[in-house]
């Protein structure tokens, strides 16, 4: 058997030589992204589903934040879809077998910022595991309907491609549980299925809405001949277009529902030249228009869900800017919603009580118990959609960013007890994008709302001033993108830039702007007709603004080098601070014309180097384009041409400021890392799903990578130092030690919170030393141990090792081992679970692996937030060590007392032949020792006795001194002296009692032929206790 193992291992090691080309993302496993939220404002939810037989089970599909599940009515939510595409279009539960759940990816609320899906998934175990079941090119799915009588029969409304023609759209049907699919309803390549409802009383009857629609980079059109309302009576094989009573001419998006109380009652919201709400009472044969209100006409492409009430035939719920509820069959709608987020997309009505509602909005999930008048927000979904992120230099530093639908926010990157919802502060309204702290004054924040409405706020009083540039007399109207770039110069932080079609520069916090470029866009008038955009329903919200600058980057090492990228495909550079500009787009080979420049990053280390990501998704091109130039744009090379594993259109690229070969790439499918300047890319999926990554920032002092996702909030990779030292091409050793940033000593912070479980709390960092190492193989056999030595070389701690293949992380809480304390059977010495804080200095760490020792070092420093002098800190360290040793002294004394008492008890139990006088002596000695023990430690049984003997007092004082970095108080010193005297006198008492009373006892025992009662020396006792 052993031979087989050696043979197997030989093959294994030759097969897996580690080089960049065989490294997988899984080998970075010791490094995990940390999610810090926010969840206080939720994020856009596209669909939700509730188990009818147990409505505490809720599934929520976020627009680009995955599927979340609750089993306790929404008190807590867990992500259940994190291995898959995070853009969710539809969720359906097979209500007869509620562990069967279908998910259609790709949001169908087709706003400009929407993401893309990749097909249909299904779980048979309530979301624990999922299988991909088909329609990979569907891009977005609006609804799924499952036949209640035959769960293998499922209909999927594929709305399909938003930015291109496609054959893969329309209504699809499977009759074999997803093994095969048929496209049963298709009108043309510009139209998809926007809704489908099955008559659950007769599953052969279905209603489907076809929708012709298209988005371009600069326009949106809803409506066309491909739209229409259809009915099938034969299970979807043939369809009849319904027209009687419905609007003539081109139709837009249609929403449908069937009343669960009367299957002949059908409701439809129809976008048309005049949009309206329609009702049929004869199963779709004829229709009447019930109303034409804003409930029907505002943004039908975005608000297109109707729920017919399960209790009252005349009640209808409609998604809209408000929560619309009709009680008269659609003739009129009340605009409800309380203080929930506007922009409602889907709702669930409780059939046991139609006053109880769950509502999915742009601000997350809300719950009402009074028919949508008042709502409570469920603040446990960290599904915010960031566009950008910025960092400041405070300690701890703060993270700033703007959100789709939800304004501008900032929060600290760490706190002592987690990043709570209340730690996120709001600073701006509308849709948020760039948020910048001022370079020198932490109270000044720049932020914006959509279309470049830049503002500056003073946090001390909330006063806000608009600082958006205005066209000069010579300039025409300024054009600002929906997502206007506002960036701080990396060379001179007092300078900020903003981009319209021109580049504007300010050095006085936006009070005045200087235009430092000509029109850098194509200025194509055919792309400037946003006032006509929308199709049947005009929609000009600045979301379609085009021919604008969308990315700006200047070189840290040469402030005259500034790069600009535009949405209409121009990449331009100046080398003289804006006096002249060069359009280098033509030099980028292999790039389709007019590819939106999503990011231009000037290298922080070399002014001639720049990186650019291009994004063609708004023209239907989902390919990632990532390029690099080393000669100011004269020539470019593709960084992903040889990397088919990089998926999703590219949004952002950053070069590490310390190690130029280390690159970070964010695409619509997540984060990728390269260790070799882009030759190979590894997907990074450790504790972060494949969620769209829209921005990245590296902190220059703390060396973190901060990741702004569009759908799951902010993630942090704490400490890039090990990645910077790690060269996958040269991993030959079994163990490679890697460096880390200095470990920071801090004291614990006391807080008391009983906020319940209903709030998402982001994780924070612990006050530990982090040890990093890379293992070439996963060692299943043989021990691996970590040994930590203090600056003097003394071993202070041994830790079990982490044994992943690849990157490993072990944490040491920066404290010496806890003191050895006297023992008690009834309670803990609460102050003594921690050792003293380890002093500053350079420590050694060793990894012991199968007989070989690998060595590294790390430094320990104190957080500068503490104000104590060196002398004060030294006096604390002196006293804490004194109390540390005193506890051991007492432990040794008590151990001697207890062992001797036990030996006396044993001897007394077998005392035949022992003189009665000796027995009396032994009893008396035993009782004396017992009484002494009762002074040393607590012995009263009970949960709250209030008892506090010597050990407990010593431990309490030690705990106090141990948790404050500065000089101990005079009171503490006096108390320590008193306790030291008691320990000393206790020790001496025990010694003298044993020295005087034991020898005569032992003589008598010996004479009676019994074993003597031996007492260990203090040294022997200490050695045994330390083992």
């Amino acid at each position: 058997m052993k031979n087989l193992f050696s043979a197997a291992l030989i093959v294994a090691t030759t097969v897996s030589a580690v080089s960049q080309s065989t490294m997988t993302g899984g080998m970075l496993g010791g490094m995990r992204a940390r999610s810090i939220g926010p969840a206080t404002m939720g994020g856009r939810i596209a669909d939700l589903a509730v188990v009818s037989s147990d409505p505490k089970i809720i599934y929520v599909g976020a627009a680009s934040g995955g599927v979340w599940k609750s089993t306790n009515g929404g008190v807590t939510m867990q992500p259940v879809f994190d291995d898959f595409n995070q853009s969710i279009g539809a969720i359906a539960i097979d209500q007869a077998r509620p562990d069967t759940v279908w998910v259609g990816t790709g949001e169908s609320w087709t706003r400009n910022s929407t993401s893309v899906g990749d097909g249909v998934y299904r779980s048979y175990d309530g979301g624990k595991t999922w299988s991909f079941v088909g329609l990979p090119k569907s891009e977005r799915i609006a609804r799924i309907q499952i036949d209640p009588k035959d769960p293998r029969r499922v209909f999927v409304a594929v709305t399909g491609a938003l930015w291109s023609d496609s054959k893969d759209r329309g209504l699809y049907r499977t009759t074999d549980g997803g093994a095969t699919w048929e496209n049963v309803l298709f009108t043309n390549e510009r139209s998809g299925c926007a809704d489908v409802v099955m008559d659950t009383t007769d599953p052969n009857v279905l209603y489907a809405a076809m929708w012709e629609f298209r988005r371009t980079p600069y326009s949106f059109a809803s409506g066309g001949p491909g739209s229409g309302l259809y009915r099938s009576a034969d299970g979807g094989t043939t369809w009849t277009k319904l027209t009687n009573g419905l609007p003539q001419g081109d139709l837009g998006r249609i929403a449908i529902d069937i009343s669960p109380l009367d299957h002949t009652l059908i409701y439809a919201n129809v976008e048309a030249a005049e949009s309206g709400f329609y009702r049929s009472t004869d199963a779709g044969a004829t229709w009447e228009r019930r109303s034409t209100t804003s409930a029907s006409s505002v943004r039908p492409f975005y608000f297109s869900r109707i729920v017919a009430d399960p209790v009252d035939k005349n009640v209808i719920h409609k998604a809209g800017l408000n929560y619309y509820r009709s009680a008269d069959g659609g003739a009129s709608f009340d605009a409800l919603g309380g203080s929930s987020h506007s922009d409602h997309h889907a709702m669930w009505i409780d059939k046991r009580d139609n006053a109880h509602i769950l509502d999915a909005t742009d601000g997350g999930l809300y719950e009402s118990f009074d028919k949508a008048k008042r709502f409570r927000h469920l603040a446990n979904l960290p599904i915010s959609q960031f566009y950008h992120v910025s960092l400041d230099m405070r300690a701890p530093y703060y993270v700033y960013g703007g959100l789709q639908d939800n304004g501008s926010w900032f929060a600290p990157v760490r706190t002592s007890d987690g990043i709570h919802n209340a730690d996120w502060k709001n600073v701006g309204y509308g849709d948020g994008f760039a948020v910048l702290p001022d370079a020198t004054d932490e109270n000044i924040i720049f932020w914006e709302s959509q279309g470049g409405e830049a503002q500056r706020t003073d946090l001390r009083n909330g006063e806000t001033k608009k600082v958006q540039p205005v066209a000069s007399r010579e300039e025409g109207k300024l054009r600002f993108n929906w997502n206007t770039p506002i960036v701080r110069s990396s060379g001179d932080p007092s300078v900020i830039f903003i981009g319209s079609q021109y580049l504007h520069r300010s050095s006085n916090r936006g009070d005045a702007w200087k235009t430092i470029s000509p029109d850098l866009t194509t200025n194509d008038s055919t792309k400037l007709k946003q006032d006509q955009s929308g199709g049947l329903t005009v929609d000009n919200s600045s979301a379609e603004n085009h021919c604008t600058i969308v990315t700006i980057g200047d070189a840290a090492k040469d402030a005259d080098v500034i790069w600009v990228g535009t949405d209409d495909g121009n990449i331009q550079v100046t080398r003289n601070g804006g006096s002249t500009w060069t359009n280098v787009t033509a030099n980028v080979g292999g790039l389709p014309a007019h590819s939106w420049v999503s990011c231009v990053e000037a290298s922080p280390t070399d002014p001639a180097v720049a990186y650019a990501t291009f994004d063609g998704h708004t023209r239907g091109d989902m390919t990632p384009y990532v390029y690099k130039t080393t000669d100011h744009g004269a020539t470019w090379t593709s960084l992903v041409a040889a990397s088919p594993d990089v998926k999703g259109y590219a949004n952002v690229i950053r070069q590490d400021p310390v190690r130029a070969e280390l690159l970070y790439l964010g695409t619509e499918y997540g984060l990728y890392v390269s260790f070799d300047a882009g030759a190979h890319w590894l997907p990074f999926r450790n504790a972060i799903p494949p969620v769209p990554v829209r921005d990245l920032a590296v902190h220059p002092r703390d060396h973190d990578l901060v990741i702004a996702t569009h759908g799951r909030g902010i993630y942090v990779l704490d400490d890039l130092t090990p990645l910077r030292a790690f060269d996958p091409q040269n991993i030959s050793a079994e163990v490679t030690m890697l460096p880390s940033r200095p470990a920071v000593r801090r004291m614990g912070v006391i807080s008391q919170r009983f906020s319940g479980d209903g709030e998402f709390v982001g994780s924070t960092t612990d006050d530990v030393a982090t040890i990093w190492y890379f293992l070439k193989e996963r060692p299943l056999k043989g021990a691996t141990e970590i040994v930590i030595k203090d600056p003097a070389g003394t071993v202070i701690r041994k830790l079990p090792a982490s044994t992943r293949k690849g990157l490993n992380k072990v944490e040491w809480p920066l404290r010496l081992p806890p003191p050895i304390t006297a023992t008690s059977e009834v309670g803990f010495a609460g102050g003594s679970f921690s050792g003293p804080l380890a002093p500053e200095g350079t420590y050694t760490v060793e990894v012991h692996r199968a007989g070989t020792v690998f060595t590294g070092t790390f430094t320990v420093v104190t957080d500068p937030i503490y104000q104590h002098s060196d002398a004060d800190r030294a006096s604390q360290q002196e006293l804490v060590m004194t109390l540390y040793r005193l506890q051991t002294e007492l432990a040794i004394t008590q151990d001697i007392v207890l062992r001797t008492r036990t030996r006396l008890d044993t001897t007394l139990a077998h005392s035949e032949g022992v003189p009665t006088g000796t027995i009396a002596s032994m009893r008396s000695l035993r009782d004396t020792l017992d009484a002494m023990n009762k002074q040393f430690v607590n012995t009263k049984v009970g949960l709250i006795t209030g008892e506090e003997q010597l050990r407990e007092q010593l431990s309490g004082l030690y705990g106090q001194v141990n948790n404050y970095m500065g000089k101990p108080t005079a009171t503490q010193r006096d108390h320590a002296a008193i306790l030291a005297e008691r320990v000393g006198s206790g020790t001496r008492s025990v010694e003298s009692i044993l020295a005087s009373l034991l020898p005569p006892v032992n003589e008598a025992l010996k004479a009676a032929g019994k074993s003597e009662i031996a007492v260990e020396t203090r040294e022997q006792t200490e050695k045994r206790l330390r083992k």
Binding site: M1, N3, L4, F5, A7, A8, L9, V11, A12, V15, T24, G26, M27, G29, R32, D125, K128, T129, N686, A687, R778, P779, L780, K781, G782, A783, T784, R797, L799, P800, S802, T803, R804, K805, G806, E811, P813, R815, P817, P818, T821, A822, T823, S824, E825, V826, G827, F828, A829, S832, F833, S834, G835, V937, V941, G942, L943, I944, T945
Partner: protein, 240 residues
């Protein structure tokens, strides 16, 4: 002959990462063989283990002693600052002694904890005799577990699910995932195995790392395991 067959089978499995050619029972049999073979497991009547537990939040190691006897009997003791904690099951009744409650008396364990106790008390582990225990198994295919390739096996029994990952090269168990009740909450717990050593012919992991949501909460390091020793049944019975 044996070596060639084994290597050939292994090469096939390393090449066919996405093919489902290997059945779950084949994987399980290979794993039991890699761990020592069915006969050795069946011959096991009891074992006693000592070691230390390192809790992630605390900086001390707590020593523990574990005794397991065939028939679903288990006793786990650990000591902190002189206070002795006991958790045990005698085959059906789970109980504990927690000195923190102030009474020092044994109390019965809540049902959701008894389930975990029964798992710990199963001397055969997850793979040996799984059918007889009422589990069905499915091979979910090859997955990456921290850089190594492993077969992911899904075990189902009524409402319970657990996952066992078998290393595709050595066929030793890499990790287990299941729901556990901790402090009244049901959480997904991963147990990662390493430092396999031969104890009486059976390969046993001497280090186990427990993680929830990717964060390590506890590392268990075994110092010594003795097998087939005499342990009285009374050791596992709840004292009055």
């Amino acid at each position: 002959m044996k070596i060639r067959v084994f290597l050939a089978a292994m090469l096939l499995s390393t090449m066919a990462f996405t093919a489902q050619a290997i059945t779950p029972d084949e994987i399980i049999t290979k794993s039991i063989d890699a761990q020592g073979g069915l006969a050795k497991f069946k011959a096991l009547t009891s074992y006693s283990a000592t070691g230390t537990m390192a809790m992630a939040q605390m900086q001390m190691d707590m020593s523990f002693a574990l005794k397991v006897k065939r028939g679903g009997k288990m006793r786990f003791e650990n000591e902190v600052q002189g206070m002795k904690f006991v958790t045990a099951i005698d085959g059906s009744t789970g109980w504990m002694i927690n000195p923190m409650t102030g009474t020092g008396k044994a109390e019965k364990l809540p049902d959701e904890n008894v389930k975990d106790m029964k798992d710990m008390a199963d001397i055969d582990g997850d793979l040996v005799g799984y059918k007889e225990d009422g589990w069905t198994v499915e091979n979910l295919g090859s997955v990456d577990v921290e850089g190594s390739t492993a077969y992911k096996l899904k075990f189902t029994k009524e409402k319970d699910t657990k996952f066992v990952y078998i290393d595709a090269v050595s066929f030793l168990e890499l990790k287990q995932e299941k729901k556990s009740s901790m402090m009244g909450q049901e959480m997904d717990v991963e147990t990662i195995y390493s430092d396999y050593q031969n104890v009486g012919g059976i390969m046993r992991p001497f280090q186990m790392e427990l993680r929830t949501q990717g964060t390590t909460i506890q590392t268990i390091t075994l110092k010594k395991i003795e097998t087939n020793i005499e342990i009285a049944d009374s050791v596992f019975t709840m004292p009055k």
